[in-house]
């Protein structure tokens, strides 16, 4: 129980009668990285605003390390580092000035401000940008300043709203490494709509759609959903469906743009058998790979699964 850093209890937010977020509950333990997934307008940012005390929930409550956000907001906010979707940067300041202000506002004692600024800059790869005006930094560097601002007071919970938007691939890799590093000691909540990113950095995933939590579980569960029991095969001389179906384990055959997609039964591993058969029959196998479904597919699957019981109730 002591390990819980974030507790969201039945969070609901209404905008003029329409629920942007309804009944979202989850817990986050120390040392976990939570990925927050969802399409545009699903309520990701709204939930994050409520977690950080930027928005009052219409119902429900938020507890940070056991401290209620509504009852003692100052104590709770001191434990959070937050990077909103729109970077809250004062562009007329230099990186050093801005980070010093951030440290001071987050009650870093004046003795440690210098050290905190240095270490935040180092962690975000900003050391050589100290004296530059934020206004003159590139988009990616501005994003790094935003992240540095969120981790400067060494918070228990770091909440980042789409932290990798607008970064180049190398920067994205750095930021992901940084998130993983922070996640070892503290809790991190990251929102994104890039599934590979979630797979790389998160150990817990939540998918939110139309304000409702549709999936909440470990990353391995999602990975299984994503990879599935499918293989994508390419043949120079495609065999008949029945010939493929005779290979043990294969349950379904489907043709897609000149390739063949086969679904195999849970637990079986027909890869070797397919290669052997191809060599024996001369099918000219040139590609064999696990067929990964895209985020949209997983998404549709998940939202669909959840939608069914609702429809049943309606009927």
């Amino acid at each position: 129980m002591d390990n819980l850093t974030v507790e969201a209890i039945e969070l609901t937010r209404l905008y003029g009668g329409r629920a942007a977020v309804s009944d979202v509950s989850f817990n986050l333990a120390k040392g976990q990285v939570l990925g927050f997934l969802g399409p545009n307008g699903a309520g990701k940012s709204t939930t994050m605003k409520m977690l950080t005390g930027n928005l009052a929930p219409s119902a429900g409550s938020v507890k940070i390390c056991g401290i209620d956000m509504m009852e003692s907001p100052k104590e709770a906010k001191a434990l959070i580092g937050y990077l909103p979707e729109m970077r809250p940067l004062y562009k007329e300041f230099t990186v050093d000035e801005y980070l010093t202000i951030a440290a001071r506002l987050h009650k870093v004692s004046s003795k440690h401000i210098k050290k905190a600024v240095e270490s935040a800059k180092e962690r975000c790869g900003l050391s050589h940008m100290s004296k530059r005006l934020i206004e003159n930094l590139s988009n990616g560097y501005q994003q790094r300043v935003g992240i540095a601002q969120a981790i400067i007071h060494n918070p228990m919970v770091v909440i980042l709203d789409e932290p990798t938007v607008g970064l180049d691939p190398i920067q994205i890799r750095d930021i992901r490494a940084l998130i993983k590093e922070i996640g070892q000691e503290h809790s991190v909540i990251v929102s994104t709509h890039i599934l590979p990113e979630v797979e790389m950095v998160c150990d817990h995933v939540q998918i939110i759609d139309k304000g409702k939590l549709v999936f909440n579980g470990g990353i391995d569960v999602l990975k299984r959903q994503r990879i599935g029991n499918k293989l994508l095969l390419g043949f120079k001389q495609p065999p008949t469906e029945s010939a493929l179906l005779q290979i043990p384990g294969i349950a379904e055959v489907e043709h897609v743009d000149g390739m063949v997609r086969v679904r195999f039964t849970e637990g079986s591993n027909p890869n070797e058998a397919i290669v052997e058969a191809s060599v024996k029959e001369g099918w000219g196998l040139y590609q064999i790979a696990p067929d990964q479904t895209s985020l949209e597919d997983v998404f549709v699957q998940l939202t669909y699964q959840e939608a069914v019981p609702v429809e049943e109730k309606a009927a």
């Binding site: 937010r13 905008y15 709204t46 605003k49 950080t52 005390g53 930027n54 928005l55 009052a56 907001p73 100052k74 104590e75 906010k77 001191a78 959070i80 937050y82 909103p84 729109m86 970077r87 809250p88 940067l89 004062y90 562009k91 007329e92 300041f93 000035e97 202000i101 951030a102 001071r104 506002l105 987050h106 009650k107 601002q149």
Partner: protein, 248 residues
């Protein structure tokens, strides 16, 4: 924590040329009026023969400088106060303050204090400028102090009102124009009701309450009026920001 915010505001005021330019222009204007006052003093006083017509150099020069200062501040304060909150709204930096461990009161009071400290530089400058008369004359420091206190309270009230209008919109220009109009009306309210000095509306005028300070009188009733004025608008600002958090 209030001071951290005030410090941030002051820093951002001086990070752009805006702060320096306004400071320089205003000081130039006050300096010009001060010089004119000193020059005119000899002309006017050598013309007045009877002793009853003569009065001190402090009052003569002070009247000119403080009179013009209160009028110029009417334009300067909205220019400075308009961006306090609306600029943060426009560039979406409000979450930075909201997610820091600060109460809304600390944020609002800090911003208010930042602006008042900036304007206090000007008030102090005027006081020092007038004190230089002491080199060749014996000036009335009580008069200067009363006027300084009055001017500081006046600009603090301007700032509180400007801060409130700044919290209403995300367009700094709109905030500036609205606060200028509101201040202008409040300043000249007593002129409208000049014929009837007992009218309650004329008591709301900022200028009427500044008058006693301008005469060298520190009246607790006027201090109370300015304090209430400031507290009212700061409270309204806090409530406005709280509504943001509640309604989104």
């Amino acid at each position: 924590m209030v001071f951290s915010i005030a410090r941030k505001e002051l820093k951002s005021m001086f990070a752009s040329p805006m702060g320096w330019i306004i400071l320089a222009l205003l000081m130039f204007a006050f300096g010009t009026y001060y010089l004119n006052g000193v020059n005119n003093y000899f002309e006017v006083m050598s013309g007045s023969i009877r002793p009853a017509e003569r009065y001190g150099v402090t009052q003569f020069v002070g009247q000119t400088v403080y009179g013009v200062a209160s009028f110029i501040m009417l334009f300067a304060v909205p220019l400075l106060s308009m961006r306090l909150i609306s600029e943060e709204r426009r560039s979406q930096t409000m979450p930075f303050l909201f997610s820091a461990p600060l109460s809304l009161t600390e944020i609002v009071v800090g911003k208010f204090l930042g602006l008042v400290l900036f304007l206090a530089i000007l008030v102090l400058y005027i006081a020092i400028m007038l004190s230089t008369l002491n080199i060749w004359s014996d000036i009335d420091f009580g008069y200067v102090i009363a006027n300084s206190v009055g001017l500081l309270l006046l600009v603090a009230s301007f700032s509180a009102l400007g801060l409130y209008f700044s919290s209403l919109t995300s367009q700094p220009i709109v905030a500036g124009i609205l606060s200028f109009i509101a201040l202008f009306v409040l300043m000249i309210l007593d002129r409208f009701f000049a014929g009837d000095p007992t009218n309650i509306m004329s008591h709301l005028s900022l200028m009427k309450h500044f008058q006693s300070f301008a005469g060298g009188l520190i009246d607790t009733a006027d201090i109370a009026y300015f304090a209430l004025f400031i507290i009212t608008f700061l409270t309204l600002t806090i409530r406005r920001l709280d509504a943001d958090r509640l309604r989104g």
